[in-house]
Symmetry: C2
Subunit: 270 residues, 2 copies
């Protein structure tokens, strides 16, 4: 099934636009998890079991695994989702971007080694660095457009003629790069006005929206600015706000409660 269809089915099945980011930081794990072998995988398993009926996607962020030589636990985590909750697609958040022959290698990593359903990509190097991913037609390619971090504007809000650079990226992705109809955009929740401008450029394109929760975005404004004409089209990611909601024996229940709260807050404005 194509990634966008997987997402749509999961959104409807779980009545949720929430994606949980699996960004493991072992020092933040509850003590009884820290002690385990393969504590990253064990932690993720608890979070996944506690949230699988509340989400439309999972999004492991690769740096958290690379920093610790835990690529095996990343692979086990994705396999665990595929084996137990095959309806929930997995976005590999790696923000890759390199010349074509190297992008081929990254696509192999994401889609063949890990079996991810979608991947995040940096658009700065142009279409030949994006196409090795979009060529996997069933998979999703999610391009950085307007990110949620404090320093993003210094580059992404540069004026190119009468547009902002992020608008040019959105328009280029939509008009020139989306040959396989599987491109999406990363649009942060930290500025609803920008979300609205990008929505106006891209029709019903789906956005991955980080920045609610730990990064402080406003739920109502984000949802109202981001939804497409079908009342969908946003995948609202929260990582730290959900997975570190608790840090004792009840951390999984705390994560579940945080996921329910975010799901309901988002649904309230749909």
């Amino acid at each position: 099934m194509r990634f966008l269809d997987q997402v749509r089915a999961a959104v409807r099945k779980n009545n949720s636009l929430v994606c949980v980011g699996l960004d493991p930081l072992p020092e933040k794990f509850p003590a009884h998890i820290q002690e385990l072998n393969q504590s990253i995988f064990e932690f993720n398993k608890y979070i996944i079991d506690a949230t699988h009926d509340l989400v439309c996607a999972y999004k492991p962020q690769v740096a958290h695994y690379h920093a610790r030589g835990a690529e095996d636990q990343l692979q086990m985590t994705i396999e665990y989702i595929k084996d137990n909750y095959p309806d929930i697609p997995v976005i590999l958040d790696s923000k890759r971007g390199d010349i074509g022959s190297t992008a081929d290698q990254y696509a192999t990593e994401a889609f063949e080694r890990y079996g991810a359903d979608a991947v995040t990509i940096n658009p700065y190097m142009g279409i030949d660095t994006v196409e090795p991913f979009t060529r996997y037609e069933e998979k999703g390619t999610i391009l950085l457009c307007r990110t949620s971090n404090p320093g993003a504007g210094a580059i992404q809000n540069l004026k190119v003629g009468d547009q902002f650079l992020y608008e040019v990226i959105a328009e280029t992705a939509m008009k020139d790069w989306n040959h396989h109809n599987n491109i999406m955009l990363v649009v942060g929740a930290t500025n609803p006005d920008e979300l609205k401008r990008i929505r106006a450029i891209t029709g019903d394109m789906t956005f991955l929206v980080p920045g609610l929760g730990a990064q402080g975005g406003d739920v109502e404004a984000t949802v109202k600015s981001g939804l497409n004409s079908q009342g969908e089209g946003i995948i609202v990611n929260s990582s730290r706000g959900i997975i570190y909601a608790g840090n004792d024996e009840n951390f999984a229940e705390a994560a579940r409660a945080a996921a329910i709260e975010l799901r309901d807050q988002v649904n309230q404005y749909r």
Copy 2:
């Protein structure tokens, strides 16, 4: 020693501005190497032994290791260089870029897990995504500016006022981001005029220059446009043109010959 001092010392010791890119593709290895356990590490070892006195740096490109689950062989390769040729710095070519807390994880990967001396970074997300790397003052942070791939211009040559986007990146990196004096730029060899414009903006800043060899840049024009006022300031990378110069039992000698040829071509115009 600071990365730039390491490079300068290696340039002078080996009289070379050449960097060899370690981009292993096992299907391109000679048959007798393909058969070995840990063939990637074995291949790299031959290349390194055959070229260590001809180069100023090595640059492993991470996707080639990630695609095959060969992070251990990447680590062994870097350790092999450090143990045997400690004068030659290692650039981890990973083009990372992510929000600050994630960038911290990537910096841990590059500098602590792998012990690299420098890393390539994508600037699209802004200073807070760059600073977790530059904060390691001894290490080098090499930002993408104008890349050598065919599609780069669609984004990097957008006009921002009367400048190209890549010029704005160069100027921002130089004036606003270089607090620790350890930022460098990736500037492709495919357009010497652009190299000249970036040199004019950045004084004596060091550039990593890919695109000679397999990607087809012109050596004379590249060197003359890229050198700084000290007749240095460019690290000329070749990957495929050197490491796959031969593919039989004599592949290491072929790589050595190709490295000598590039070193001499570059030196001819210094």
